[in-house]
């Protein structure tokens, strides 16, 4: 978190600088199956963030040493395109991306039925094309839609959402300014139908009450985003006359 209250982020009427209410999320748009080369894919626009995800596999896990005899490994690469931020990012190794890739993979392993594919690997390629705060959450949402599109069995989808604190007020879904000058950020990966949490990070300063409000907001937003995810998957495959095979 950048600063503490030195920038005004809430208007006098309690609304936020972009006009949102404290418990309102940015607009979310999702398309499934947009990358023909992949086995499954998704495009997610969340506010001004743009993320795409491609799935390859399940395929034989290489190199051999990463193979697990009893399940598939999920190989996540979260990457920010050089032009995705206001200062260009040099391509290459990056500690932040490595960490996010690791915890994202572990979150996805909690929903994917990995035991169905021993010795295999499922490649999850998350590319952030435009970043406006909250990209790890957008990446998780994109990965879940792409996995479903690829036909990978999962016990639930998973939704990436975040809440945080600005000017001592808990708000849902921080934008760029709020992320830069706010006091806390709590991103979560939530299983929308069971309400379980598979991904959790936090930084900043939150009281227990504030944490609870964040969780409440995140749960609410997860339901809303879930509906958009389901709609994207259905739109791709449901024919206009509502029929099936």
């Amino acid at each position: 978190m950048g600063g503490y209250g030195d920038v005004k982020l809430l208007r006098d009427d309690g609304s936020r600088l972009d006009g949102r209410q404290v418990d309102e999320m940015r607009e979310v748009e999702i398309e499934a199956g947009i990358l023909p080369a992949a086995d499954g894919s998704a495009w997610v626009k969340h506010g001004l963030n743009v993320a795409v995800c491609a799935i390859y596999g399940p395929m034989e896990a290489h190199p051999r040493k990463i193979q697990r005899q009893d399940r598939a490994v999920i190989d996540v690469r979260y990457n920010m395109a050089p032009f995705s931020t206001s200062d260009r990012i040099r391509p290459g190794f990056n500690r932040r991306s490595r960490e996010i890739s690791k915890v994202t993979a572990e979150a996805l392993e909690s929903v994917v039925l990995v035991e169905r594919y021993p010795r295999s690997k499922i490649r999850v390629e998350i590319e952030i094309l435009a970043a406006e705060a909250g990209t790890r959450c957008v990446g998780i949402t994109a990965a879940a839609v792409a996995l479903a599109d690829a036909g990978i069995p999962m016990r639930d989808l998973i939704v990436g959402v975040a809440s945080g604190k600005i000017e001592d007020t808990v708000v849902l879904d921080l934008d760029k300014a709020e992320d830069n000058y706010g006091q806390a950020d709590l991103p979560m990966g939530i299983l929308p139908t069971t309400g379980e949490i598979a991904f959790l990070q936090m930084d900043g300063d939150l009281s227990v009450d504030e944490y609870n409000t964040c969780v409440e907001y995140n749960m609410k937003a997860a339901k809303e985003i879930h509906a958009i995810m389901v709609d994207a998957l259905r739109r791709r495959y449901q024919s206009s006359n509502g029929g099936g095979k």
């Binding site: 080369a37 395109a81 995705s84």
Partner: protein, 260 residues
């Protein structure tokens, strides 16, 4: 990862070529459908998305303020790079930039740079102290053949719509980058013994060498590259150059149509 080439695919491509046909029903000099969208990414000062058949790429432009090279104190710089990350296809692996991605970036870079469409002197802020550097990054998201032409198109389209963020650099008001020309690329691949325009992924898999031609507004050549194993004759080159002359004009029109 090396892709496996099924022998039947090679046989099939040869047979189709004998009858002047292509595997997806196109004629020899016919391109796939192209959709170009510009200014589609927040944070990039210029951006383009190209959907070329089933190939998908994004290009983004960023600027920096830097010190000029001592021997060229009034000249800014241009750099174009391409990334072939594992997202682009099953055959792509993580790791440092592959020779393929470096070739791709450099061929696109040369076409834009050598066309002279950017006046490097116009990028000077304070001679000998401050100049603008332009960086074009190309991101391939779905490789279904002919990424070269898609990347070149995306790069020039992103450049032509770029806005110099002068306010952010404290050097005045934001202004559109001046780009005086629209160089575009046409690539040809030898499939079943003869060249075709805009090979798809199957034709590339079962095909041989390729030739990339970048032409400027006057039809002048600005960059050429022959890639992969194989040879060609001067007569073959004459033939594809003629095709490229027409095709590059059409591609330039497509880019220029974005600027309304």
């Amino acid at each position: 990862m090396v892709e496996l080439v099924p022998n039947l695919l090679k046989q099939e491509l040869e047979k189709l070529a004998e009858n002047d046909k292509r595997i997806d029903g196109r004629s020899r000099w016919e391109s796939r459908e192209i959709t170009l969208e510009t200014n589609c990414l927040y944070n990039a000062e210029g951006s383009a998305k190209v959907v070329w058949g089933e190939t998908v790429i994004y290009a983004g432009v960023k600027f920096e303020v830097r010190t000029p090279w001592p021997d060229r104190p009034t000249q800014g710089s241009l750099m174009c790079g391409a990334e072939l990350r594992p997202v682009a296809g099953r055959k792509y692996e993580p790791g440092p930039p592959s020779p393929e991605s470096i070739e791709l970036g450099r061929v696109v870079d040369r076409g834009i740079r050598e066309s002279g469409c950017i006046d490097m002197d116009s990028l000077c802020i304070i001679p000998g102290e401050k100049v603008l550097g332009i960086m074009i990054d190309i991101h391939v998201l779905s490789d279904k053949g002919n990424i070269f032409d898609a990347c070149a198109l995306g790069a020039i389209a992103a450049l032509r719509t770029a806005i110099v963020p002068a306010e952010r650099f404290d050097i005045g008001e934001d202004y559109p980058l001046s780009v005086s020309m629209t160089p575009t690329m046409c690539s040809f691949t030898r499939v079943g013994g003869r060249y075709v325009l805009d090979a798809n992924e199957k034709e590339e898999l079962g095909g041989e060498e390729r030739i990339h031609i970048t032409l400027g507004d006057q039809g002048h050549l600005h960059s050429l590259q022959k890639g992969l194993k194989g040879t060609f004759t001067p007569a073959e080159f004459d033939e594809i150059l003629q095709v490229a002359q027409n095709r590059c004009k059409e591609l330039a029109d497509l880019v220029n149509a974005q600027e309304e």
